[in-house]
Amino acid sequence: MPTEYTTLVSALADTGYPCAEYGWKTRPDGTYLVVGLDYEAGRLEGDGAKADRAFSVSVDAFFRKIADRAAVAGKVESVLASCLGDSWELNSIQYEQETGLFHIEWTGEVCGTITAPPEPVPDTEPEATEDGDA
């Protein structure tokens, strides 16, 4: 997983709001967050290999009272600014009439690889073979 993404997930969990990756199966009451990696948004290719990759990441906040908006948005945006720099934006603010929830959606991009980087191979010097000198 991209390091920026894993730090983002742990930083969002530290905000005090319940946060789940890729949505909640049973959603909690009150304010909660959803975070997820969506798709590969860009890549740098060379020599038939991907040198660098960018992934689209999204953060959603759901809350019931409009008075909470400033607090929730402030916390999430300060986390986004510290983890992603300036590669994020507020995509939409929506209101769900059926559930009475407010929904703010942020999108951003993180750099990295989806698989864990390979373990570094320790440099081992070939053992010197000593021919028996007489």
Binding site: Y22, G23, W24, K25, T26, R27, V34, G36, D38, Y39, A41, G42, S56, S58, D60, F62, N91, S92, Q94, E96, E98, T99, L101, H103, E105, T107
Partner: protein, 166 residues
């Protein structure tokens, strides 16, 4: 001491360039129309990959997040992703592609606007998992659309040059 230099064909060249300048808006529009078509196709293609569930709304437990229903997926795959009227501003031409005027779709016996359904699937809601097919289509479709615009515009320019006897 002096040099005499003679150039031929400048008249033809200036005539051709003039003709190209006059038709710049037309060239851009022809290219853009192809590009917009490519983008609309890409949106349709991504909409087909939406993961949908078959279920009865009535028995669905509260507070449970679900995938889009089969009807909701049908709305975004079968409704037309349209191309807006071209806005010409000198040599620049603008348009937009999307579900803005795609009408209504029958969901649970009620007619719901297609853009609203598309937005719910794209952004996710408290009760529906997000599947950003539209954003993905825009990201993946932009290089394809750009290529299509350049290809068509180049063909059109060549046509104009040939017509003006260049």
């Amino acid at each position: 001491m002096g040099y005499t230099m003679k150039t031929e064909g400048l008249d033809d060249l200036s005539k051709m360039l003039n003709q190209l300048g006059e038709q710049a808006g037309k060239v851009a529009a022809v290219g853009l129309y192809d590009g917009a078509g490519v983008m609309a196709d890409e949106i349709k293609r991504q909409a087909k990959s939406i993961k949908a569930d078959k279920f009865h709304y009535a028995v669905f437990p509260p507070n449970v997040t679900r995938n889009p229903s089969v009807e909701e997926k049908e709305a975004v795959t079968k409704a037309s992703a349209g191309i807006a009227k071209f806005d010409k501003n000198g040599g620049a031409v603008e348009t937009s592609v999307g579900y803005s005027n795609s009408g209504y779709w029958n969901i649970r016996g009620k007619m719901k606007p297609v853009p609203l359904i598309a937005n719910s699937i794209n952004s996710g809601t408290s009760f529906m998992k997000r599947q950003p097919f539209f954003r993905k289509a825009v990201t993946k479709g932009t290089p394809k659309a750009t290529n299509a615009i350049v290809r068509t515009a180049e063909a059109k320019i060549e046509e104009i040059i040939n017509q003006s006897g260049g």
